[in-house]
């Protein structure tokens, strides 16, 4: 090919060109990674906003940090088949694993100080997994993942005006605040409803899509209790109670109810409940048979990522599941790496 004779003349230009290509490549990489955009809402920033001033709950979930594992089954009654071809809706009994939890970043929180209660659930049918994480309010506090981040920042500020400013900018929060104030407290995880809030699309056998949300409604009788009374029962009453309840009265049940959207119902905004009177289909029953402490329990190292879906269920235009998946993954990576801060009992001394 060429003689290296003309090296000196074109050499410098070529070196500059090579340097420019490398610098350009590295800069594009840094940009893609977000290193040049400190304003990008990354999972790290979301987790930083969740972290209390006292520090991160090492080894624990970065939110809903306090919880207890359960195992049981999901009994599908077959009614869901008309909406979704997912195997899990075919009449039958499928193994389930989950976690009752409190919506707080403090694994040692006093039960009566935490308004939101949640349930993580995984159902396995025919090798396909369905994971979800549901909470007891009937709608979410905010409309978008961005405003959830702003809420965390505002509520973490000492400045009393911060929340006022936030509510002005996010009026949907008022409904949630009203729920938090007026909804009855209960003294049991078993007496709570758990709502998925996010919208998904069920695909039926003919390929038709149905926008849905789903809830788990308790069979246990709901006995309201005042927050003060709950506080008197002790800081860790809910976990003691569910252990005792399942031991004494046997399995606890929730009916899974799917609500089907009418055309035009908002699917992208979990802070907007759909109007009353929408068609609902009872698709089965969650049966909680056994409670296990989280430390050594089967739910500990599971990420109840709401985007783990079987065929027959897919995402809608709701932006939350993707945001949650990204943040839960990061939270999982962190807590798995910090396992020695939350040692299993077999592993020995704390």
């Amino acid at each position: 090919m060429n003689q290296p004779g003309n090296l000196p003349r074109s050499g410098l230009g070529s070196l500059v060109l090579i340097a420019a290509v490398l610098a350009g490549g590295a800069a594009a990489f840094a940009y893609t990674a977000g290193w040049l955009s400190p304003d990008r809402l990354t999972p790290e920033r979301m987790i930083a906003a969740l972290t209390p001033p006292s520090g991160a709950p090492l080894g624990h979930r970065r939110n809903h940090a306090k919880g207890i594992c359960f195992t049981g089954v999901f009994e599908a009654n077959g009614n869901g088949v008309e909406l979704s071809r997912a195997r899990v809706f075919e009449r039958g009994t499928y193994p389930a694993l989950g976690r009752f939890n409190l919506g707080t970043a403090d694994p040692n929180a006093v039960d009566a100080t935490v308004r939101v209660r949640g349930l993580g659930l995984q159902i396995v049918a025919d090798g396909e997994e369905w994971r979800m994480a549901l909470i007891n309010p009937p709608f979410f506090a905010v409309s978008t993942p961005q405003s959830f981040h702003e809420l965390l920042i505002a509520s973490g500020k000492k400045d009393p005006d911060a929340m006022k400013t936030f509510i002005q900018a996010n009026p949907e929060f008022a409904a949630f605040a009203a729920w938090a104030k007026s909804a009855p407290w209960t003294a049991s995880y078993a007496e709570e409803p758990y709502h998925g809030l996010n919208s998904f699309i069920f695909t039926d056998a003919k390929g038709g899509g149905h926008a849905v949300r789903w809830s788990l409604l308790p069979s246990a009788e709901v006995v309201p209790i005042s927050q003060a009374e709950l506080e008197k029962r002790g800081s860790n009453f809910l976990e003691q109670e569910i252990v005792e309840r399942v031991r004494a009265s046997g399995p606890q049940r929730w009916t899974m109810v799917t609500t089907v959207a009418d055309p035009g119902d908002p699917t992208a905004d979990p802070s907007k409940a759909w109007p009353e009177g929408r068609r609902t289909v009872q698709v089965g029953t969650l049966v909680v048979q056994r409670i296990e402490q989280e430390r050594d329990g089967p739910c500990r190292d599971i990420n109840f990522d709401p985007t783990v879906l079987p065929r027959g269920i897919r995402l809608s235009d709701d932006p939350f599941p993707a945001a949650r998946s990204s943040v839960y993954r990061k939270s999982y990576d962190l807590r798995a790496a910090e396992a020695s801060d939350y040692p299993r009992t077999e592993a020995g001394k704390p």
Binding site: L17, V21, T32, E128, N303, Y332, A336
Partner: protein, 187 residues
């Protein structure tokens, strides 16, 4: 030396460029997806897993072809230290191409995530869940990902050095199209 090939076989060249494009995409998708909470996170991670597993299959084929066809010799006037560097860096590139997808799969298995690729293809788990193993493999996938990118940049710089400055025919050995009539690639 005369009976060694002058260029990589066409299928080797094709695979080199196809995989190069895909690997660069993997590196960018990797760092892009983990830094966003936007809806595009989910399609990106689905592409990352699917393309990553595809690349694992491709590298196996590529290694078999490499053993079968061999590689053209480097120029005689290349200093031995540079030749060694070239060989070691190519070895390392192959190493990354094999290990990165395995680490990606392994860390998901160890975290008990189901692995479902584009088209609903399920990959069965070959590792038991373990937070220790997950962390080890995650760290490796993370740090080696950056090392891989650095090496690709170095490799790119070396290729351009051969093509533009030394003009010693090394670039032509892997070029997709014959550059024979393009005598002045620089300037």
């Amino acid at each position: 030396m005369s009976n060694e090939p002058h260029r990589f076989a066409p299928i080797q060249r094709l695979l080199h460029w196809l995989m190069a494009a895909c690997i660069v995409a993997m590196l960018f998708i990797g760092v892009g997806m983990v830094s966003t909470v936007a809806p595009k996170y989910l399609p990106l991670i689905l592409i990352h897993k699917t393309l990553g597993v595809t690349l694992l299959v491709l590298v196996v084929i590529r290694l078999a072809l490499r053993l079968h066809y061999g590689a053209p010799p480097l120029p005689d006037d290349l200093p031995p230290a540079i030749k060694l560097g070239a060989r070691l860096s190519h070895l390392a590139l192959y190493g990354f191409m094999i290990i990165m997808p395995l680490l990606g799969l392994g860390m998901l298995w160890a975290a008990a995530y189901p692995i479902v690729l584009y088209g609903g293809i399920q990959i069965p788990a070959l590792l038991a869940p373990s937070d220790r193993v997950h962390t080890l493999l995650w760290d490796a996938h993370f740090y080696l990902g950056f090392a891989f990118f650095a090496l690709v940049l170095l490799h790119l710089a070396a290729a351009l050095f051969h093509a533009l400055i030394r003009r010693d025919g090394v670039f032509a050995t892997i070029a997709l199209l014959s550059l024979r009539n393009k005598t002045t690639p620089a300037e």
